[in-house]
Symmetry: D2
Subunit: 425 residues, 4 copies
């Protein structure tokens, strides 16, 4: 490119584009589609600032990758394979290309996987494929390989997907910025200064351990404060149930008052690449808008709830799960709620830092510390803090149900239900 181009970005100030290929990829229609898909799905119903798109996140992942590589090059690290630069940048930019609208709910309802769609878009008959092919005929395959973690060079894959990758670094900073919480703000510049390529891995200088602890704590906090927020989960559950209902109605031969082809094909489980690229959150939201007028009462009701943000209420419970479910199902039916659509038990969990276990099949590359004698140590061996948040973190069980449920349940007749769902803080 004759001249470096920039995008104004609230998180990184500017995003610098220095390669024609990157510029062309950004301008493809498949990449522009990411503007119409929110990074955080239904979180905007909890944090009203969280309207940012996967487009902006993708640019951010690209920018962090560019900065990392630029630092590697400036320091002339010998273990850095210079020829992989453009591949890394393209994979970083495109790794989320296959995300659909409200991925969590859609994938759960219809069994699609965004990783697969990313590769289908990269390899299919698309503008993205055309741009990548111009680099070299096998370049699209390489990019898809990095995205699917099958590419042979671990160091390339780990820049984009590992416990300490450009993806996580951008989303923590970005999601913190747009939600307005400040848990996700770790010191990116410092992290960039302490990582380096070493014998095929990205490793962390021992003196950078506290910086990595800080980054992992940010992740831990963001999971519990933002990503697993019960109001967000409530909206996801509702969406999932809307689609489950629609599928059920279709299977029963119901005629929809409003339907568009890509959604129909999704329900019929025969969605094409072309259909998929038409799907975005506008289409989904529009479906909800017009389905709120459907003659099927339950479908209409659930769509209205989502649109008007009359989400299901939640209660925390510690007791015996089976018992609760059975009791809830019974009383819901007694007062006219179908528990299939009007109740859900949810149990969020996450592994903020997943310890690497030798011999096991684990996607997540561990974080390795490099000491001044060139020994590598997995970080939980050295940090009590990381150890304390590694492994399986358990959240609380929540039960979700319509706010009106308790109105219909007389406290005198149903004291046990009132106790179970008792006032929460």
């Amino acid at each position: 490119m004759k001249e470096e181009k920039v995008f104004k970005d609230p998180v990184h100030k500017y995003i610098y584009v220095q390669d024609e290929t990157i510029w062309d990829l950004i301008n493809t229609k498949e990449f522009q589609r990411l503007r119409r898909i929110r990074q955080l799905g239904t979180s905007y119903l909890t944090f009203h600032g969280a309207e940012h798109s996967r487009f902006s996140h993708s640019l951010g992942v690209y920018e962090i990758t560019r900065k990392i590589i630029s630092q590697f090059e400036r320091n002339h690290y010998e273990d850095w394979p210079k020829e992989e630069r453009l591949l890394c940048l393209c994979a970083a930019l495109l790794h989320d290309l296959g995300h659909g609208p409200f991925s969590h709910s859609i994938e759960k309802a219809f069994g699609t996987r965004h990783e697969d769609w990313s590769c289908r878009i990269v390899l299919g008959d698309t503008e993205v494929n055309e741009v990548l092919s111009r680099v070299s005929p096998d370049f699209p395959k390489k990019v898809a390989g990095v995205i699917c973690k099958s590419y042979s060079e671990e160091i390339v894959v780990s820049l984009v997907s590992s416990q300490l990758d450009a993806d996580r670094m951008d989303y923590l900073l970005r999601d913190a910025y747009f939600t307005g919480v400040n848990y996700g703000t770790f010191d990116l510049e410092r992290i960039l200064r302490v990582i380096r390529p070493y014998k095929g891995h990205i490793v962390v200088k021992e003196s950078g351990m506290h910086a990595v602890e800080d980054y992992l704590m940010s992740r831990y906090q963001m999971y519990w404060q933002v990503y697993f927020h019960p109001v967000t989960r409530s909206a996801e559950i509702l969406l999932h149930k809307v689609f489950a209902r629609a599928k059920h109605l279709y299977d029963e031969g119901y005629t929809f008052g409003f339907m568009v082809e890509p959604i129909l094909h999704l329900i019929q489980n025969r969605i094409s690449l072309e259909d998929y690229l038409l799907l975005d959150e506008s289409v989904m939201q529009t479906m909800l808008t017009f389905w709120s007028q459907e003659k099927d009462g339950m479908l209409g009701d659930m769509c209205k709830r989502f649109l008007d943000r009359k989400l299901y209420k939640y209660s925390t419970f510690d007791g015996e799960q089976e018992q609760l479910i059975q009791r809830m199902e019974k009383v819901m039916q007694e007062v006219g709620f179908d528990p299939t659509y009007y109740m859900e038990i949810d149990f969020p969990s996450n592994q903020s830092y997943d310890v690497y276990r030798a011999g096991e099949n684990d996607d997540n590359l561990p974080i390795l510390l490099l000491d001044h004698k060139d020994n590598l140590t997995e970080i939980t061996q050295r940090s009590e803090i990381v150890k304390s948040i590694s492994g399986f973190q358990m959240g609380k069980h929540h039960v979700y149900y319509p706010e009106e449920l308790l109105e219909r349940l007389n406290a005198e007749d149903y004291p046990d239900v009132w106790e179970m769902l008792g006032e929460q803080d």
Copy 2:
């Protein structure tokens, strides 16, 4: 309310709700609809962070108004009419309630006015009206009066609409935050400290003049850097032309492959309140998605351009306007572009600070400085800076046209057009 409630907000950190009425208004479906309408319309195509909604802005205007009033009350200013508190807060919260999707383009294409719709929603058969009526039967009318600036107490109106109102203060800060530019960041706390009620006006302590200059300069900068950005204008123009084309097709009896009722009614100029409330940016975007497959080539092409962000290119020109237009129209037709839809002359302008002119019909209440001898002076009498940006600011004329135009125009055959549209920086 038993307990103050909060919303996490990136601009104000937290938004505090202390009145049941405010809480109930936020939870109406009409207010929730504002989540689905972007604050800055098509600006997200220029600044990818600018996805924030009118919902978040409306909360922000409410919060600033709340802070102003709280400061007035804390200082026991005698000229503050305490009984107007709730009215101010409600009007602040609801002032943008009538905004539709991509207001600029839609209003230009169909002649609707969001201010009118705000009042219709407040006064109509809506959840908002119901909540307001609970305060008192004439309360909805009062709120509508403040929004339409017909309410008798100037001081109430001026908190929500004046040269130094909560609306402007919030949008400057918010738009700066989400676009990532830092031109809009003036010192809100300082402004709050220097304003006070005085004989029916909101005035500024003389010692706060520099703070107000800073605020007005922020506005000036935001207009030229963000609001009038030619790429944003290009997208607005395209949208406007899409709707103009659709209207034209409808008038000619064209049968649309895809249409939904509220849009149809809009085109037919018989849109009801119920229809209007179904309109949001999702529906609009979905129209564009499916219209991109319409058999009418021009409609399809323009929709695709918008979706894929292949916007019209722009050139600046200083010369004779009429001549340019005529020449452009001619050559466009020669190479197969209908100039009605593929060309536009645009001329942005703004009045960063509009001087009050006695005797004239002017909506914009001026900024008055109060000196230590209790004299009021209009600010341009005292500040050279404000004077320099007051009155009419002229931007450059831009001509918008498809990027491919020049490809179709041989530089040797059309040297004058190449000259006119010559390379811009």
Copy 3:
């Protein structure tokens, strides 16, 4: 006060003074003296931004206390003893009043304690005492009681000194701001929202546990990244040795080329309140400036090192401590360095969160979580993270010595010393 007054503050934006007593205290000469004492002692030699004074920190502690109390009052919490408001504010403002210049080094060299001096100033013949006495004759005693933690109401003491007090909250935010690191930035507003008075304690709502974890992690990070930074320690060690040398010289009857009374009295261990109030970092630094020209070579040399920032170098070691010390002392003497002044073994440690141990004498009030059934639980019972950083944290042993030492030690003749002090990262 007729009108609220403000101080512009980079951390809290503004500091609000609403009481005449607070205003008068700030204007006493004893409080103004805190402008001449840095909050972080020698840290400015590591982080050049860390020049901020104890004056600004003291205002910050006052402001956070004011905000906490204002929130308690706004929510009408019954367990909050309203009559203690002014006492809390005064104690918060004055709690660091007795700090001298470079407290760590001075206190170590001369055995003074800043807490004692705070009380002496509050109770002595001072402007501060005069202002406090105007409130009531026993008010100075009460304030001193809170500062020394002997006051009977735990809730009052704990606002100023506990594991979650206004002091710690301000210094973390302030030190992070001025050093430029971003480890110390937790969400103050959120912390304020989750604490409340409860049966004589300040407790934390259970749902605020993650916010407290975040705050404690900030402390942990600040300790390791800033407060224990080995370069800062090196400067403290040098200062301590300068004063140890001066004391030694005085005891030997040495005549100083430059001396001022307060320092002389300090060395003679007969410093009066009046002397103490003349001590500040300017006087100390001036002593160093002129002592750098003293005829005693060691004193002059050490002072020059401090002024020109030729601090002692440090090496980390893991091995047997006694052995190292003996060997180092021996070789230092061989090459002409007196190990008493030119060597130090240092071992930083901290307890980021100190668990309360029933029955033991522990100053630090624990953090208690209040659940929705009104049970109180000490936080380590609930948080793995807090548990992982509670108790004794061990840093590395460092040995400090002049950079020129190795130049004087031939690597061939002293291979073991080179090995011990081997190149560090």
Copy 4:
């Protein structure tokens, strides 16, 4: 250098040192001395955060210069003389080397000029000179030439001293950060993107005009809100008068209870380079501390006022100056204040942007806009805003006097003085 080194900086996040020469210069004792001189002199008495040193500012000017040059090199601008890189960086780092403590007051009292001292240090027998001489024997002279603006290449000089130089850019951002006001925060990255070397000048791309306007407005605001703050001026005036009094006493043969050599030589007007380098704000403050106990009542009184921040009060006046002065002098003497030391008339002024005037002797290189036809235009020809703040800006006249003056002046006997000094906001 083997490896790039960094300093943590609150304004620029990190400062990157890539040249051995720069590293060595920072470690000289003359440069380390700048740690003991505040960037903003007495401003810390108005804005308590403003304790930052000239050391940190000097690093900041270096860093901005480094960024500008790095951008010029990355873009391969032909008009950039690459061989001047190190010279620019050294001059940027050292341009403030000659500043003494509280420069404004000292220079006014004793007629010294910091620019001269910068050159004397660079050219004299100093560590700085030694480091520079290692580059080449004539390198110190070149550096001094750039600092004194006598170097032949305008482009080199203008990076360090012009209307849009690294010095101003750093101090606006830094002073805003440490005072906590947010007027000084312009978009540095954007400015860096729009400047470029062109035919021996640093010019601004026309499309960057608004960014430059924003920067100039920041300067304008900082001048009126911070640099000319009357409380800061009051402290400067007091300091100036302390030194004037000391000089007067010396001239009269007074024997000081406390004196140090460098100050004595300063008063005797025979200060050597070695003396000058011993002067810092600690020494000055220490003088004030011990002079506050001098037997000369006026000297002692003024020093106490400064230390305890009992500064002179100020009143604004518009009327006839001569008359006021005469009247004030008369009544001061009547009630026992010597007007030479207890009164001052002050009149701040500044030129935020000084228009270049052809043919006149003007230090300040103007800001030139480069349009797409390669024409250069001086910015006031294009910007109404810059025009409005260019030229001479007049502040108000203030008269400074002790707060107790009015107590001694009976309002009935001196109604005119009360009127003149009447209550200010």
